[in-house]
C-alpha cells in the first residue's frame, strides 16, 4: 500500500493542482471552463465527469499501451475516451437530468477536451496503469478546482446564490441597494476570472512566468 502512494505518486496527484495546472499553466480545456461555470452545480458535475473520464481513460490506455500500434494510437485513444464519455453522459441523464440538460453538448465535448488527449499522449502511453490512473485523477482535480472556483465567484456575484442557495437575499444586501452583476453571467467574465487566477498564481511562483 505504501508503494502505491509513494512520494512520487503523490506528486502526480498534487502537481496538476498548482504548478502543472491544465487550465492556468498548460492553458488546455478553456472552452468548457468558460461555458459551464455560470452556476456551481453544473461546474461540479462537469469537473467530476472530466476527472472520471481522465482517470479511467488513462488507466485503460496505459494497460493497453504495449499492444497499441503507434500509427493508430490516436484513434484507439479516441475510441476509449468516447466510450467513457458516452457512459458518463448516460449516467448523468439517468440520475441528474436537469444538470445534464444545462451541460448540454459540453459533456459530449469532453471527447475533444485537450486535457484528456494531452494526458494520454504525454503520460499514459509511457507509464504504468496505477501511475496513469493517479495522474488522470490529479489532472481532473486540477481542472475541477479552477471550474468550481470560477463558478463560485460567478454564481455568487452574478446570481446572488451559492449552489442554488440564495445567500445574498438571506444576508439582506438587496435592501441596501446591492444589485446582481450581469457581466458575471456572461462568458467574458469567466475568461477574466481565469486570467485573475493565472495572475495570482504567477505572481506567487515566479517560475511560471515565461521568459521573453
Amino acid at each position: 500500500m505504501s508503494q502505491l502512494f509513494s512520494a512520487k505518486n503523490l506528486k502526480l496527484l498534487t502537481n496538476p493542482l498548482n504548478m502543472e495546472n491544465p487550465i492556468t499553466v498548460q492553458v488546455l480545456g478553456i472552452c468548457s471552463a468558460l461555458a459551464v461555470t455560470v452556476k456551481m452545480k453544473p461546474a461540479f458535475v462537469m469537473a467530476l465527469s472530466v476527472t472520471i473520464v481522465a482517470a479511467f481513460s488513462n488507466l485503460i490506455i496505459s494497460t493497453l499501451r504495449k499492444g497499441i500500434p503507434a500509427r493508430i494510437r490516436i484513434i484507439v485513444q479516441l475510441v476509449v475516451v468516447a466510450t467513457l464519455v458516452i457512459i458518463v453522459d448516460q449516467l448523468l441523464r439517468a440520475f441528474v437530468y436537469d444538470v445534464s440538460k444545462q451541460l448540454s453538448v459540453f459533456v459530449g465535448l469532453i471527447i475533444t477536451n485537450c486535457i484528456l488527449m494531452g494526458r494520454l499522449e504525454a503520460f499514459a502511453m509511457a507509464n504504468k496503469p496505477w501511475e496513469s490512473f493517479i495522474d488522470g485523477i490529479g489532472n481532473g482535480m486540477g481542472y475541477g478546482w479552477i471550474l468550481i472556483g470560477v463558478s463560485f465567484v460567478r454564481e455568487l456575484l452574478g446570481s446572488g446564490t451559492v449552489w442554488g442557495y440564495p445567500i445574498m437575499e438571506k444576508l439582506g444586501v438587496y435592501t441596501i441597494g446591492y444589485v446582481n452583476n450581469g457581466v458575471m453571467i456572461m462568458p467574458p467574465m469567466a475568461l477574466i476570472l481565469v486570467g485573475v487566477i493565472i495572475w495570482i498564481q504567477r505572481s506567487r511562483s515566479k517560475k511560471l512566468i515565461e521568459s521573453k
Binding site: 452583476n181 457581466v183 458575471m184
Partner: protein, 390 residues
Amino acid sequence: MKAKKLRQLIDRVKPQFQKGGKLAKLHSTFDAFESFLFVPDRVAQNGAHIRDSIDLKRTMTVVILALFPALIFGMLNVGFQHFLSVGKDVAFFSWQGFGFGFLKVFPIIVVSYVTGLGIEFIFAQVKGHEVNEGFLVSGMLIPLIMPVDVPLWMVALATAFAVVFGKEVFGGTGMNVFNPALLSRVFLFFAYPAFMTGDKIWIAGLTKGQGVIDGFSGATPLGEAAAGHIDKMPKFIDMFLGTIPGSIGETSTLAILIGAIILVATGIGSWKIMVSVILGGLFMGGILNLWGANSYMHVPFYYHLVMGGFAFGAVFMATDPVTGAQTEKGKWIYGFFIGLMSILIRVVNPAYPEGVMLAILLMNVFAPLIDYFVVQSNINRRLKRIPVKV
C-alpha cells in the same frame, strides 16, 4: 514664503522615503506628491533631448480644461432637468439649478478620482513604478458619461474594473488597449442594465418618482427615436444646446464644441479623428436616409451629430492618443469607422439605443491593425521606387 516652508518640509521628510529610509517602500507616492507640488530639480545630463514645453501633466491639464464647459453645462442641465420634471419653473442659468446639479455630480467625480487614483497608487507601489498623471483625464471623463442617478458604489466598482483590467494589466498608462473611461461605462452597461438604460435614469430623482408631474417623460432623444416616437424628439437647436436628458456631460454639443476648439488649438486632440468621425457618421446617416426602411432611418442625417454621445465620443474619446490610431492616414480610417459604426448600431440594432461607446471600443481593437497596414503600404510604396530588386 509659504512655498519655501513647504519646500523645507518636503526636504526634511525626503530621506525617509529614499533608499534605506524607513518608508522607502512608499517612495513613488512621495515622488508623486513632490512633483505635483514642485517641478523636479533634476535634469537629464547626457544624450539628445527634444526640448518641448508639453509633457503628460500639461497635456492632461489642457484636456481637463477642455472638459470644463461640458462639465459646467452638465451640472446646470442636471438641475434644470430635475426642476422641469417636478414642474418647478426655474431658469436654465440659475444658482438653484446649478447648486442642485453640483451636489449631484460632484460626489460622482470624487468617487471616480479617489477610486482610480487609489488603485494607481497601489499599483505604483507594488510594481515600483512612478505614479503618473494618466488617470487625471479618465477620472473626469467617467462622471461625464454616467447617468446622473447612478449609485456611487457602481461608479467605484466600474472605475476599479476599468483601471485594473483596462489599464494596469496591460502595463499602466500608455499601454492600454481600451479607453479606460469607456470601459468603465461598458462594464456598468452590461453589469447593471437597469441603471444604465431606459427612460427614467437620465434625470435626477425620476426613478423614485416623487413629485413628478403627470405625463412627464424622461426619455432621451435616442430613447424616443428607438421607440419609434420620432415626432416626440426635441428640436435640433435644443439638442445642439443640450437642454435635453442624457448622460451628465454629453448633452450639449455646443459645450463640447468649445472643448474641441481648445483641444485642436493646443494641438492635443487630433482634428483629423474628430473630422473623420463626423464624416463617418454623416456618411452612414446619409445611407440610412436613402434606405429609409423605417421612421428612424428618416431622421435627417445631421441630427445624429447632436443626439446622444456622438459629439462627446468624437471629441474626447476617439481622440485618446493611446488607444487610437497613431499614423496620420490611419486616423482618417479609424475615425471614419467609428462614426459609421456608431450610427449603424444606433439605428439598426434595437438592443442598443446608443452605439458610440461600442463603436469606439471596437475600433480601439482595430487601431493597431490599421496602423500596421498604413505603415506596410508606405514601406511597399517606397520599396517600388528602388530600381534594383531587393
